[in-house]
Symmetry: C2
Subunit: 444 residues, 2 copies
């Protein structure tokens, strides 16, 4: 048993089943927000729950010294649903330590990471060494789309004014390796519905003479990429900033190899756009991925139907300076241009989010890199990640300050999956990293 | 109210809910077989139920005159499930006459057509004019794949020996127009499963660097046809007999136009292989149709998943002399050749059936054409149909005699759909056609 009181506190935090997606856990959400408020107050912060139309936002502020810079630290206390429960080695809300890791839903996404920041600030306050003012902003709806966060930022813009934003909700390039995630891809999603005959037809009686929407959908999907796996939509790359030489260099020096990525993904070999490494394809290049497709008969065996409809769902991942709306418009034009004769297309636009990028050679970027090197004893990896955190755009739009993504989660964290875990070492390093980052940002 | 006793008998026959696919109707299946046996006996035939491992087969024989030829008439007394019930104007098993048509499940598929043959034979027997020996073979499993019919034919091969086979289970080219269907397409079905990563991946975290099985499946489907809508599988057309000049002529003179087919199918315009009319594409040219496809997220909105698997189901419709096994082998080779990097393919072969063709200028073909012309007062349309009746291959293999497909169902029969119907006029013409065909076959 680990007797470190900080680890015990994390176990307590993870044990609260704050599942935002499940109405049955509404009481737990409130209990978790209260737990955070208590924790922040016990460390000397001015903390409160702020209600929204959804789950409460927790705000905690250190005593304000106008002579000091202010850093806003963002995190979330809600967690993903734990299902399928039978795949967990130990129950998701009975956090358990095995081989130096805390297993439990939310341990790495995002309770371990945010608690490390809280405890780091708490220690500095106790020691009287806190070099900046800190505002904690911890929401309860990150896993369900942060629906009320943008409005909250707008409403509390003055109170939340700051010089920099720190977020630990990303993953390390490789385990134990310091990582500054300086980019995240944007996203634009759409569904394309392909309509053919008025109803399903007998594929014998009409097959060969009537356009088949399933075949048409497949041809449209196939038209999305050229033989080099580049996206074949006209104009798709027009706004894409090419990778800088130093970025290609950093990617080449990354401890994360293509073989690592293939192993993590569970594939024999990587695929994708010619001329780029796996890391570059994931972080720095835009994509068009099919997330789902369907049409006709889906059951056992065969049914000789010529389906009336088919559909596919796409998500485009975007990089600076692509704009979601523009990309969706180009895609619609592309599909209409490639539409096979005899079918009609319907487009349903989904959500969008702009790509994020922090210049790693900006003063804040350099501060974060110095802090990471100090704590981990080696130069941090610079990484652009493939995922999207749409609220980053809101932070930049409303607060107008650079955001630093300081990764503490292990690549093997299993966020959103059974056996989610957070290494105790990363938790303790996170506490030190918090202090180092705040010290470095104070000097900017 | 129609007082013709023959029509009343058909209403009685259609009222029996002999749905072979639904276990709840097992008793009705037996009741329907008994009804037929009684009917045949009342007309002077030697009739019996012959049990199989599934539903009974009804056999009825006219008194045998060894000096006469023998014609076997095939039909089925089972019907498709009536669902969705709410789309029927009147209940499916309460047959109702409207605008000269009998509406009810099974009215045209196949009860109206087979009863017309039975009544035609009955009238000729009563008049003492029956020119041939007749054997009725009426099964109860046509709508569920005729599982036990081939075995039945083998077992009763001697008893069922005949000079020709007559079947009315197809549709007229256009309403009221005499039609000899002299060809039916064969079929070969398969499912292709496309496997990628070990589990579904986050499309942000891995998208762009891992082969997407949904995209791969779409590319494989797209590879099936060239830009002229010809099937692009190497060797696919090698065994295809080209259309004879007289066939092209007959198709060109057909009363069924491309516009008719488009209207029936509920599409604005036909599509398909360049260089052929709609009728030719459907009846005389082989196809590769996607009957179903699926993979990834199928629900509302979007889920940013890179799916681990995708699948598609194909049915190939075949024409002489294509062989189902050979075509599936060519398809497997084609897909492996076009397989995108990073995915694995799994093939699941489905059922197959050979194409059927009766030479319309054979003695039996000419006899059928003379009979049709005599009853309808105009030259019959010669048509190759797009569907498949796999048992025809069994008839030809076991009994070794030509089969005549004499269409009585209206193009608007709505077989397998709500509001299935059979025009009373076609029913009465069917009785006359039966007599004319038997007379003409007697002369062959």
């Amino acid at each position: 048993m680990n007797t470190d009181p900080r680890v015990q506190e994390l176990l307590e935090f993870v044990a609260i089943p704050s599942v935002s997606a499940q109405a049955a856990h509404a009481v737990d959400m409130g209990r978790c927000a209260d737990w955070l408020v208590e924790k922040l107050r016990s460390l000397g912060l001015d903390a409160r729950r702020e209600e929204t139309a959804g789950n409460a936002v927790v705000v905690g502020k250190t005593p304000r010294d106008p002579a000091k810079k202010t850093v806003l630290i963002y995190g979330h206390y809600d967690v993903q649903p734990p299902e399928p429960l039978e795949l967990w080695t130990t129950p998701p809300f009975e956090p358990t330590i095995r081989e130096g890791r805390i297993f439990g839903r939310g341990s790495s996404d995002n309770k371990g990471q945010i608690l490390a920041h809280i405890l780091g600030v708490g220690e500095a306050l106790a020691e009287g060494t806190l070099p900046v003012n800190v505002i904690f902003l911890i929401e309860g709806e990150e896993e369900i789309g942060s629906k009320h966060l943008a409005g909250f930022l707008e409403k509390h813009r003055a109170e939340l004014a700051c010089d920099a934003i720190a977020i630990s909700d990303t993953g390390m390039a490789v385990d134990g390796y310091p990582t500054l995630s300086y980019g995240l891809r944007g996203i634009a999603t759409m569904e394309v519905r392909v309509h053919g005959p008025a109803q399903d037809l007998h594929s014998g009686i009409y097959g060969g003479a009537v356009a088949n929407p399933a075949t048409a959908a497949a041809r449209l999907i196939a038209s999305l990429h050229d033989t080099e796996s580049r996206v074949a939509i006209e104009g798709f790359y027009d706004q894409v900033k090419p990778l800088a030489e130093w970025e290609r260099q950093a990617a080449a020096e990354s401890p994360l190899t293509d073989a690592d990525i293939a192993r993590e993904a569970g594939v024999e070999e990587l695929a994708g756009e010619a001329g780029y490494s796996g890391m570059e394809r994931i972080g720095a290049r835009p994509t068009a991925e099919i997330n789902g497709l369907g049409g006709g008969y889906q059951g056992e065996g065969s049914k000789t139907v010529l389906p009336a409809h088919a559909f596919f769902k796409i998500s485009f991942r975007l990089v600076p300076d692509q704009k979601p709306d523009k990309i969706l418009a180009l895609a619609r034009r592309h599909f209409e241009k490639h539409r096979p004769r005899g079918v009609r297309l319907e487009f349903i636009d989904g959500h969008g989010g702009e790509p994020f990028m922090l210049d790693p050679i900006s003063p804040e970027g350099l501060a974060a890199r110095r802090a990471l090197e100090k704590v981990f004893g080696k130069k941090p990896a610079l990484m652009r990640e493939g995922g999207s955190i749409p609220i980053l755009t809101d932070f930049q739009r409303v607060l107008g300050r650079p955001a630093l993504l300081l990764a503490l989660a292990s690549p093997d964290a299993k966020a959103h999956a059974p056996d989610e875990n957070f290494p105790i070492e990363n938790f303790l390093l996170g506490i030190r990293l918090n202090k180092a980052v705040l010290e470095e940002l104070a000097k900017v």
